[in-house]
Amino acid sequence: MNELGRLRRILSHPLLIALLRVALGAVFVVASLDKIENPEAFATTIANYRLLPYRFINGIAIVLPWLEIITGTLLVLGIWARANTMIVCGLLMVFSIAISQALARGLDISCGCFATNPDSERMSLWTLIWDLIWLCWGGLIWVFDRGHYSLFKFSSTRKDKTESP
């Protein structure tokens, strides 16, 4: 029990949670850049998964990268952290399902997680494992984040300091 309590105290340390939040947000921002730059290639990447009727694919290829960069940026800044963590976890769950079905059906495709080039690294079990690690990472943030080291916190602390005599 003591060990568990100690682990919980380490995992819930505000600085650690803030670092995890910033890192997860940065991952999403970085992941979105190539997709925003090359929307057509990203649409092809989604089509490769053969998960959705092709008529819906362009809509997703247009919205998904912007959703990633906006939630990622908000997470880095700590704005609406719980809401954005939930969105990120939802996206990671969808990605996990997409990757799992592609692996189960033996589709020899690139995951398109960070690069839209179809010749980039092929999808493997490691792709799924990384996705699940990020999902757990997001879970930790969702459970323990209390808004420390966020933009709101910084601005309110500064305001308090300037107002105090």
């Binding site: 929307p39 057509e40 649409a43 092809t44 089509a47 490769n48 053969r50 998960l51 959705l52 009727p53 092709y54 008529r55 694919i57 362009n58 809509g59 290829a61 247009i62 919205v63 990268p65 912007w66 959703l67 906006i70 939630t71 908000l74 609406w80 719980r82 809401a83 954005n84 939930m86 969105i87 059906r105 033996g106 589709l107 495709i109 179809p118």
Partner: protein, 164 residues
């Protein structure tokens, strides 16, 4: 929790609106609906199945090594099909299995058809089979309807009475 749900909705709505507006302003904008044929890794656009005219198809019919493939859905196949045709219904979300591909590997000619000339499924399936390295893949111009009109052999009902 209500507050979080409202924030989630706001982020989703803002992201979607921003994405569509940005897309509309780009020179290389994506059409909202992916045009036909879809581009994907096993794409027909890379190595398309060729069109095959009715006369050539009628000549090929019954020859050793020629396989006719019906790409339509099960109910359409049950109603009527080219005699001796194999049923491999095309689905974009369901790639062809290795077993299906292996069973066609020794064929000399594979003729894929749907009901009509403008059907997407036969072109896509032909493209996918060609991309997978199957020999002599082509899709039947004029489809099953044209085949029946040209006097080709079939079982069940003629396709005029039903759509794909």
């Amino acid at each position: 929790m209500k507050k979080t749900a409202a924030q989630i909705a706001a982020v989703l709505l803002f992201s979607a609106s921003f994405a569509f507006v940005t897309n509309a302003m780009r020179d290389d904008r994506l059409p909202l609906v992916m045009p036909f044929p879809p581009t994907y890794q096993c794409a027909s656009s890379e190595k398309p199945g060729l069109p095959l005219d009715l006369q050539t198809a009628l000549t090929l019919y019954g020859k050793a090594g020629t396989v006719f493939v019906d790409a339509r859905k099960s109910d359409a196949f049950q109603k009527g099909h080219i005699e001796g045709a194999r049923h491999i219904p095309y689905s974009f979300v369901e790639p062809l299995s290795k077993k299906t591909l292996e069973s066609l590997r020794d064929s000399k000619s594979v003729v894929v058809y749907c009901n009509r000339e403008d059907s997407e499924a036969s072109k896509l399936l032909a493209g996918e089979l060609a991309q997978a390295g199957i020999n002599g893949v082509a899709y039947l111009e004029k489809g099953f309807a044209g085949w029946v009109k040209a006097g080709g052999r079939y079982t069940g009902k003629a396709p005029e009475a039903y759509d794909e």
